[in-house]
């Protein structure tokens, strides 16, 4: 039984995080061991390239790119899932820091909203082990495939919806106001349905370490389609948050020596280069096109997860 390792009467807060090391072991038996990939120059080059691709797409959409990098590494270089997840979390942190550093001061990142949502994300991460105890990895992946597909379809359907209010609109305590670099207009927005935003952030944190992702693929579409946040601001705020989200998981993997340093460095460098490119393209891209890209990406992710769950 996969969840035998999770038994025991620990009840301190720390034990939930401890559980998460067990649930990784439970989900991927024998995985809590040090990295076994043999590093060759070719593998390093391929890893940099895959990182670059994930960096471009991820940055455009406010995702860390982990959601692509993990399947890329697993499918293209045949990397064990947990090693791919460990490397991916490192790149999520790198993208988040680099992209947010470049965007700081432009009002695109909603720092206050990000901080509030991070509480839900952190709580989700804390309870990640518990979730995995209750749901078999296969069920979790199926559930995810379903959620990603549903959110992807909603993103398509609502692609024309604009959350932008006039320049002087009342924005409330969590709303924001920024200048759209593409049109030069000042865009204001209010946050609606905060509880839903909190739930999506909780889920993002909950699956982060298990799937090796920052969780942006859950948050961005929900923040945009239902919570009143314009696509660009949703992407920037998510990108700002995912570094913290991924850190909890990264600590677990790193502490157990599961991060292959050479390949992680290669992926981080690839992703950093890719995200610099992604930022350049993103500034000029119309929100509708970003949403179509996001919707397509979600459907691909749904298909990949469905395949893995079978």
């Amino acid at each position: 039984m996969p969840d035998e390792a999770c038994s025991g009467g620990r009840d301190s807060a720390a034990s939930f995080i401890l559980h998460s090391t067990f649930f990784i072991e439970a989900a991927f038996p024998g995985s809590l061991s040090t990295s076994r990939m043999v590093v060759t120059p070719l593998l390093v080059v391929v890893t940099i390239a895959l990182g670059g691709l994930a960096g471009v797409i991820g940055t455009l959409l406010g995702l860390g790119g982990g959601v692509f990098l993990v399947p890329f590494l697993v499918l293209v270089v045949n990397m064990p899932f947990h090693e791919a997840a460990a490397i991916s979390l490192m790149t999520v942190i790198a993208t988040s820091s680099a992209v947010s550093a470049a965007r700081a001061g432009h009002h695109l990142i909603n720092v206050r909203l990000g901080m509030v949502l991070e509480v839900a994300t952190a709580a989700g991460g804390l309870l990640g082990g518990l979730t995995a105890q209750m749901l078999a990895p296969r069920v979790l992946q199926l559930l995810f495939s379903g959620v990603a597909a549903a959110v992807g379809i909603v993103t398509f359907v609502r692609r024309q919806q604009s959350n932008a209010l006039g320049p002087d609109a009342e924005i409330g305590s969590l709303g924001g106001r920024f200048t759209d670099e593409r049109t030069g207009e000042v865009v204001s927005y209010r946050v609606r349905r905060l509880p839903l935003a909190l739930v999506s952030s909780f889920v993002a944190g909950n699956v982060s370490s298990l799937l090796g992702v920052g969780g942006g693929f859950v948050k961005v579409p929900i923040l945009n389609a239902w919570c009143g946040i314009p696509m660009r601001a949703a992407a920037a705020t998510s990108a700002f948050m995912i570094g913290v989200t991924a850190t909890s998981g990264a600590l677990i993997y790193y502490g157990h020596g599961m991060v292959n340093p050479t390949l992680a460095a290669a992926a981080v460098i690839g992703v950093s280069a890719g995200s610099a490119g992604g930022m350049r393209i993103g500034r000029r891209m119309a929100p509708v096109r970003l949403k179509i890209l996001l919707g397509s990406v979600l459907l691909v992710v749904a298909a990949l997860m469905l395949l893995r769950a079978r």
Binding site: M90, S96, A101, A104, V111, R112, T247, S248, G255, A264
Partner: protein, 102 residues
Amino acid sequence: MNGDAMDQTDHTEEMLGRVLTVGSRTSTAILAVGLVLALLPPTTHLASRLLTIGLVALILTPIARVAVSVIAFARRQEWMFVLCTAFVLVLLIVGIIVAFVD
């Protein structure tokens, strides 16, 4: 164009931006040098040490960002946000302890 609240946020944002810039540039630069050294024929101790330092710096960057946020919100006496960021910081610190002491 922006109200007072936005200007204050701007300041915090710039401060956090500085932390993230230093953290991400330093770690990426160290990782790049480490990676080049690791790929050159004589496997040196220096290469693996640089890779370790780079990865640790990478992980510490978001943690530093949260710590600075706590201070920034405390200075502006926005206690609700201090509470939020402090909660996240505590969980991250618990994460470090569990990951490395376990």
